[in-house]
């Protein structure tokens, strides 16, 4: 089939947003309010993005429940949780601006749970000093995305293309000026031409076997950005959420919100021991996610796991009505999928790959990457969370930096040359289209689903919660071997371009391989244990590496990892980290 001279529709806009989760939608609203024409392109239907999976809440120091809370404490918690390799400026902006972003959501129609005084209620969460998570039961992400979705579609200048997959960023004179994409329904091609691109397409959890992520999370944004020369940062840092479902097999990996522990749930091993006592006796179950995930992992490895290889998470000491009102979707999820009534029996949980702290390197103020015209926000951007993300900091990240990147992208689009004056080299287009269509020419090629499963097996075995050099090296070799095989992968047999998941997966695995290789290479370089990155051959934290990020660049010889010093934190921020903060004791009224 001759696809190289394929025809495509050309669509023009000012700001092209790739991804329609929290960051993409917040960015789109900001860019449109800044006067830009905005086109949001998403891989699934609108409102289905991974943001809906966020359950616990959005972290913002509004001090509605604990009067002692302030942006300073939120900043300190975020930096300490990230084991100090966070971009401190992002952590500062995030802590200062998230309350405003949450209140703004309320003014756009979001309905949060209330305190008895009628303010937005805030619940306690892992490693947050004070109750800080504004929430709606255990479906905060849904409320956030629905509010932003409604706001966006009613904002003048915003248009949405659903079920369209971008597979190439187009550049001209060193700046990003558009993207190539294809429509899932019929496989037709679109060339987007724009003044600036905002990447907000989320994480790459699908490169692991056990994950809370959906089929969409294949790291497309990171791969697209890397392809045009954007730097990646902290690629070794991926988060295993301590509590995913383990049984039955079909639901393995589905998230069990940290809200269960926030509302008093305790973890026990098969002997009934509350084992967190031995790992973090101060914060117990509400320790940071890296600590709790490793604790469960260690218990299972020591033979103290549950029958299906996890730990028990027990909230039965709370009243059934309390559980059903505070954790309604957890109650429903276990009852329906595991036939477990969580008001009467403990849940079985084990770590599940949940989130990337890793991602594209961005400027803290604007979300600008090192490539002109390319902006990034949300899970695929790195910096805010450092070596470990605190629960609730993701939704606030989306809002704060989605807005900032949207503002900046609109400004950039205004300054950028008119699209009819930019010349896109046809070779760039032909090459990308040929790569997308290649699987059709290999009717006997390997199954993309089988290859995807192999990538998942390699990453799960070679870059697990606790890593070591020989495993990572072997993993890297296997990933390179898989890359060669992916080049000759087929569609799984069918020649149709209409809604063909086999063809789509053949493309997805290309993105996953970029993410996987970057992760393995960075993990090899970080010769210490820090936050989510634990190494059995370097079990200690190396203080010298507290001021280092590992940055990945594309070179003609392949992927290059370099250590980069983190700029010194200004005195006024460093001082905040060293203060001590009063412990929170709930008031009688709450």
């Amino acid at each position: 089939m001759d696809f190289v001279s394929a025809t495509y529709e050309t669509v023009e806009t000012d700001v092209l947003v790739l991804g329609a989760g929290g960051a993409g939608l917040r960015g789109a609203i900001a860019a449109a309010e800044g006067g830009a024409r905005v086109l949001v392109v998403c891989k699934s239907l609108l409102g289905k993005a991974h943001t809906v999976m966020a359950e616990g809440g959005v972290a913002a120091a509004m001090h509605n429940v604990a009067y002692q809370d302030s942006w300073e404490v939120h900043f300190a918690d975020t930096m300490k949780g990230g084991k100090l390799i966070n971009n401190w400026r992002m952590a500062e902006l995030h802590a200062k601006e998230s309350p405003e972003r949450v209140l703004e959501l309320e003014r756009w129609g979001a309905v949060f749970d209330r305190t008895w005084q009628g303010r937005i209620h805030q619940r306690p969460f892992g490693a947050h000093t004070y109750p800080r998570l504004a929430h709606i039961g255990d479906r905060t992400g849904l409320e956030l995305i629905r509010t932003l979705q409604d706001r966006a579609v009613h904002t003048k200048g915003v248009d949405v293309h659903m079920e369209v997959t971008a597979f190439k960023l187009l550049t001209a004179d060193g700046r990003v000026v558009g993207a190539l994409a294809y429509r899932r329904a019929d496989g037709s091609l679109i060339m987007y031409r724009c003044g600036a691109v905002l990447l907000a397409s989320g994480g790459a959890g699908k490169m692991y076997r056990v994950t809370s992520n959906s089929w969409e999370s294949t790291g497309d944004g990171v791969a697209l950005a890397y392809d045009v020369g954007a730097q990646l940062r902290d690629m070794e840092m991926v988060q295993f959420h301590p509590t995913g479902m383990v049984w039955p097999a079909g639901v393995r990996g589905i998230l069990v919100t940290e809200g269960v522990r926030g509302e008093g749930g305790v973890l026990r091993n098969k002997d009934g021991e509350r084992f967190m006592e031995r790992y973090d006796h101060e914060r117990m179950e509400l320790s940071s996610r890296d600590v709790v995930a490793r604790a469960i992992n260690s218990e299972v490895n020591a033979g103290r796991g549950t029958p299906h290889g996890g730990a028990y998470l027990d909230i039965t000491h709370r009243k059934p009505e309390f559980i059903k009102s505070k954790l309604p979707s957890m109650y429903e999820q276990f009852l329906k999928l595991a036939k477990v009534d969580i008001t009467k029996e403990p849940m079985e949980v084990a770590p599940t790959l949940h989130y990337m702290m890793a991602g594209v390197r961005v400027e803290p103020e604007t979300g600008a990457t090192n490539v002109a015209g390319l902006y990034a926000a949300g899970e695929l951007a790195s910096g805010l969370h450092g070596a470990n993300r605190l629960g609730g900091n993701s939704l606030s990240d989306l809002l704060v930096f989605g807005k900032r990147a949207g503002d900046a992208a609109a400004e950039a689009a205004k300054r950028s040359p008119k699209s009819d004056n930019t010349k896109i080299e046809p070779a760039q287009v032909d090459e990308a289209v040929a790569a997308l269509m290649a699987p059709f020419d290999k009717p006997a090629g390997e199954s993309p689903f089988a290859l995807q499963a192999e990538i998942q097996d390699v990453m799960s075995a070679h870059a697990p919660i606790v890593r070591e050099a020989s495993g990572l090296e072997a993993g890297l070799e296997k990933i390179q071997d898989l890359r060669a095989r992916a080049m000759v992968c087929g569609t799984g047999g069918s020649q149709t371009r209409a809604f063909n998941p086999g063809w789509h997966t053949a493309w997805d695995i290309q993105s996953m391989l970029v993410n996987a290789e970057a992760l393995l290479r960075s993990a090899l370089e970080r010769k210490e244990s820090r936050g989510a990155h634990a190494r059995s051959d370097y079990p200690k934290t190396d203080d010298r590496l507290a001021s280092v990020n590992f940055v990945i660049e594309k070179t003609p010889h392949g992927m290059l990892v370099k250590a980069e010093p983190i700029p010194t934190m200004p005195g006024h921020l460093a001082e905040i980290l060293h203060r001590s903060y009063a412990t929170y004791t709930p008031e009688a009224t709450e």
């Binding site: 959906s214 639901v251 809604f499």
Partner: protein
């Protein structure tokens, strides 16, 4: 642990033609219908079109008709059916391919509904709003909606009569109810309900409530109260007389 084999019949085809195709799927304990469909996709039919995302009943993507009943496939255990299950796409929407339908009409409807509108005073105050839990709870029930569109699929006004041009369907009555019952919303959407939304066409058969995976009491808590509000303005004979003297409803467009 393989228990037995499932005879999974999936509707395959496009808008022009199609048929039920039988697949033998090894069943594992706790398997849901979506697992079985994805197993077929990974092992037997790579081009089998199906929508899914969260696989945890939170996103509302994997809607289909399982043994004729509109359900989320990710939430439907195989064990409920024995060793034979038939899965078809939603009937109320135009078919794209296999289990995937064109639901874009729903997104167009949503654009027509005037969004959340607080008062000028609430909008300009620098103070955070105060609302009581009991006051927001009514709206919250409706905001649980995950837009799976199963209620739209089962509603006979859309399914049997295809009155999409005259009727918004249960999903959007839930949406309007969430706005109308928001303590801070001041817009009156009753003219819209009577006009383009076509609320009068609903004859409260409660099919929508029955299929809602979020257990929203669509008919009792959203549709009937909206009908009462609408009737108050348009069908109360005394009000009708007063209205003849002075038109009073400041409103959203009646379409």
């Amino acid at each position: 642990m393989e228990l037995n084999n499932l005879d999974l019949k999936i509707w395959r085809g496009d808008a022009k033609s199609g048929e039920l195709v039988s697949y033998r799927v090894p069943v594992r304990e706790g398997m849901v219908v979506l697992d079985a469909v994805l197993w077929v996709q990974a092992n037997m039919a790579a081009d089998l079109a199906v929508r899914w995302n969260c696989k945890a009943a939170k996103c509302g993507s994997c809607s289909a008709e399982v043994q004729g009943f509109p359900r989320l496939m990710c939430k439907t255990p195989i064990a409920d059916y024995g060793n034979q299950v038939t899965v078809r796409p939603m009937k109320a929407f135009p078919l794209i391919k296999d289990l995937v339908t064109d639901v874009s009409w729903n997104y167009e409807v949503n654009k027509e509904i005037p969004p959340f509108t607080p008062s000028e005073k609430d909008l300009t105050t620098s103070e955070p709003w105060r609302m009581q839990q009991q006051d927001v709870e009514r709206s919250m029930e409706f905001r649980k909606c995950i837009e799976c569109f199963l209620c739209q699929d089962v509603c006979h006004v859309l399914r049997a009569h295809d009155l999409k041009s005259a009727f918004y369907g249960p999903r959007f009555f839930v949406r309007i109810a969430s706005l109308e019952m928001h303590p801070k919303d001041v817009l009156d959407r009753r003219p819209l309900l009577k006009g383009k939304a076509g609320l009068g066409l609903c004859n409260v058969s409660k099919c929508c409530t029955e299929v809602c995976p979020e257990h929203i009491k669509i008919t009792d808590n959203a549709i009937i109260p909206l009908k009462e509000r609408m009737d108050d303005v348009y069908f109360d004979p005394i009000r009708w007389l007063i209205n003849r003297r002075k038109p009073r409803v400041k409103n959203a467009s009646s379409g």
